[in-house]
Amino acid sequence: MFLRKTGWQAIAAAVITALLLSACTQTGSGTGSPTPGASSAGAKVLRMARNAEPFSPFVPWQIDDNPTLFISVNIYDTLLRTTKDGTGVEAGLATKWTPSADGLTWTFALRDGLKFSDGSAMTSSDVKASLDMARGGEKSAWKDNYVAIKDVTATDPKTVTITLKQPYAPLLSVLAMFSGGILPADMAKATDTKDYDNTLAWKTKGTGAYYSEGWKKGDPIILKRNTNYWKGTPALDEVRIEYIPDDNTRVLKLQGGETDVVDFVPFSQIATLNTQQGIKAQTFSIQQTAFIILNNSKPPLNDVKVRQALNYATDKDAIIKNVYFGQATAMNSPIPQGTYYDKSLPGYPYNLDKAKQLMAQSAGASGFTVDMQVRSGNTNFANTAVILKDAWAKIGVTVNIQTLDTAVVRTNYRAGDYMTTPSAWTNDMNDPTEIVNYAMRGGASPFAYWTRYNNPDLNDKITKADLEQDTTKRAAMYSEIQKIYLDAAPLVFIAYLGATAGWRNNVEGFYIDGLSYYRFEDVKINK
């Protein structure tokens, strides 16, 4: 036995060495600022911790997840931009846009001296190539948004002409969406080829405030400032985005000074964080709604009176207070508080008597039991379900809460294999066309946000609202659509939510816009 004398002593020695080593590094690194990159050589680096990592390919029109598109808006600019409050559009790469008299031809004048982050010039042919990929590319996830477009032409290097098959009111909003980000023509085309290596897309060439030299899953995302940016070079040298999935850990890192900005601060911690020195936390209003999806094809939920009764029996204020800690407002209309939102609608104020009355006249008069499928890990949904179980019991409805993996809940509602499930919606564009077509139009997939609600008359009105050019008339049409949908109550309407973030006091100008994006172009960090 060659190790006879040194058996466990050797192991112990190795362990002690390792410990000493770690102790040394501890003292070596000091106690001040523990995170690397905090202030190396005076460079202004903003450190951010986020709740999720990108997974879509990093090509604007192929993006279908928030973590990727939040990065995209900092790198790939669009022809037009959504305003900060998320309710209008403003100049982006194009400074002027004029429609023809029939509304079928739109001419866009590009800004002078536009350059990509590598210094090469951006021209109308890049716009054409990118928009053609967004509306017709094999891999585009957003083709539906561009079906009204007949053709995109590079009229001259600084002019783009878009012709439409039919008048399309949401056109400008669609062009301001992240999916219409402009890439160099050759890169735009290359990304759509079958064998394209998606890791290459992270070596970006955009016209936005920042660019990336590459990213590998598991590493922090590093955004470098674009000195060719048309709005002027951003104040920050670099933005360094780390992935910290756990909500508590993210907040602790902010408190410990290891990061400058965090997103998705739990609603319950906003007030506490604001009492701490050196830290600010805030809820920004974004176009987001929280509600319960009801399966309108299954009895007794196919009876409108039952659905209205559930709406009246839902104490929105209790949910806002206990689930969202006051950081939300009750829904009065089925669409988020953006363009054409009708603030005069009554919603369903909590009214137990009315709920009981409606129940008595309905198919569910003798009471019934419904399953509520809740996505595991979503505390807000779980707490909402608990409150509803209690509230709906008062009108004779027994809620059977089932906590299931998110993937299972999604598969089930897609298949119609559910009764009720809590969900949420965020507008991706500032025009209601997206939500009304996705969440209210019935008859075909996605079956009015999987509710199976189908009102042919309403479907018709939705189609007409897309064609109407006159904004006053269009507003009236959307008011009517909202009212019809509200009265039919395919959902239980709960609350308008906000997006939360927290940051250290030396960070200036961080904001989340009306569509829940954050841009770093105006953010500064003070010493």
């Binding site: 390919p57 997840d65 899953k217 602790l252 410990g256 993937a407 999604r410 598969t411």
Partner: protein
């Protein structure tokens, strides 16, 4: 049978175990409801697009063919493509193995030190207050969920005392060791709780043996008796448990990596299960199984060093 033959036999057994693991994990991820195509494409995707993607990803091929591709690919060192990230699984998983492995080894190292210190301390103070305190204290560590325990350690050592960073992995090797200290300690404290009780019991038992009385009678110092005679014999069963706990560590690391934001296999596994990324889940499971088997083999081999009477048959 010599040691070489023993190792050979264990490696053959390992192949069978891995075969079993591969079948179990392959079936389990497919029994889980939830369609990867819709998880990748999002709710907006049409049925037709999802069907195209399933075709492209090979998800609609016969199940046996899929299994064969998985196993034969693995045997050739090709773990396939991640459904979600469209990258080779090998690149995704293997870059993360060192993080989890370092965390586990670190935790085992800390656990060894903690166990020896407190196990001996408790045994020689049997029944007195240090013994009671150690036993109750570590019972607390054992029964507290580790994600909660981790947060408590962050609050104390990260936020209040500023001795260690709150979370993350750092960039250089010394930084890694520094960043990994709290997560490793979280795992180590729980692991030690089991080990200390065992070691304490074994030391007390061994101290009653005749040969210890002989050693005392020979006039050997208390210290020498304890270190050379008692501990060596008492350690044997503790080492067995220690080795078996490696599986527990790899499991515990899954949660701890999420709490401390460490880019290890555990964090990737959670993401991949949520996204039904079959090839990644399969690869991580098989790789973890290999690690656990290899460590258990190493533990079995270590007996012969600790106890010369052990032979391999």
């Amino acid at each position: 049978m010599g040691r070489a033959a023993y190792i050979r036999r264990r490696l053959i057994l390992m192949a069978f175990v891995l075969f079993g693991v591969s079948i179990v994990i392959f079936s389990m991820v497919r029994i889980l409801p939830g369609d990867p195509a819709f998880l990748i494409l999002g709710d907006r995707a049409t049925d037709q697009k999802a069907a195209e993607l399933r075709e492209q990803l090979g998800l609609n091929r016969p199940i046996l063919e899929q299994y064969w591709n998985f196993v034969s690919g693995f045997a050739h060192g090709d773990m396939g493509q991640s459904l979600l990230y469209r990258q080779p699984v090998g690149d995704l998983v293997l870059t993360r193995v060192p993080v989890t492995l370092t965390l586990s080894a670190y935790a085992m190292g800390l656990a060894a030190v903690i166990t020896l210190t407190f196990g001996i301390l408790a045994a020689i103070n049997k029944g007195r207050w240090p013994d009671q305190l150690i036993r109750v204290g570590f019972l607390f560590a054992l029964t507290t969920p580790n994600f909660w325990f981790g947060i408590l350690l962050i609050l104390l050592f990260g936020l209040t005392l500023h001795w260690f960073p709150v979370a993350g992995f750092g960039e250089t090797v010394p930084q890694h060791l520094w960043y990994l200290f709290l997560p490793a300690l979280t795992l180590a404290l729980q692991l030690s709780a089991v080990l200390i009780r065992n070691l304490r019991g074994q030391i007390i038992l061994t101290m009653r043996s005749d040969y210890i009385r002989t050693a005392h009678a020979k006039g050997l110092s208390e210290r020498l008796v304890l270190l050379r005679h008692v501990l060596r014999n008492a350690l044997l069963s503790t080492v067995t448990i220690f080795g078996l706990q490696f599986g527990f560590l790899v499991g515990g690391a899954i949660v701890i990596e999420t709490v401390f934001a460490l880019p290890g296999t555990g964090q990737l596994l959670i993401q991949s299960i949520t996204a039904r990324d079959y090839p990644v889940v399969q690869a991580i499971t098989v790789v973890s199984a290999v690690l656990v088997i290899v460590v258990n083999l190493a533990v079995d081999l270590s007996y012969s060093f600790l106890d010369p009477r052990v032979t391999y048959e």
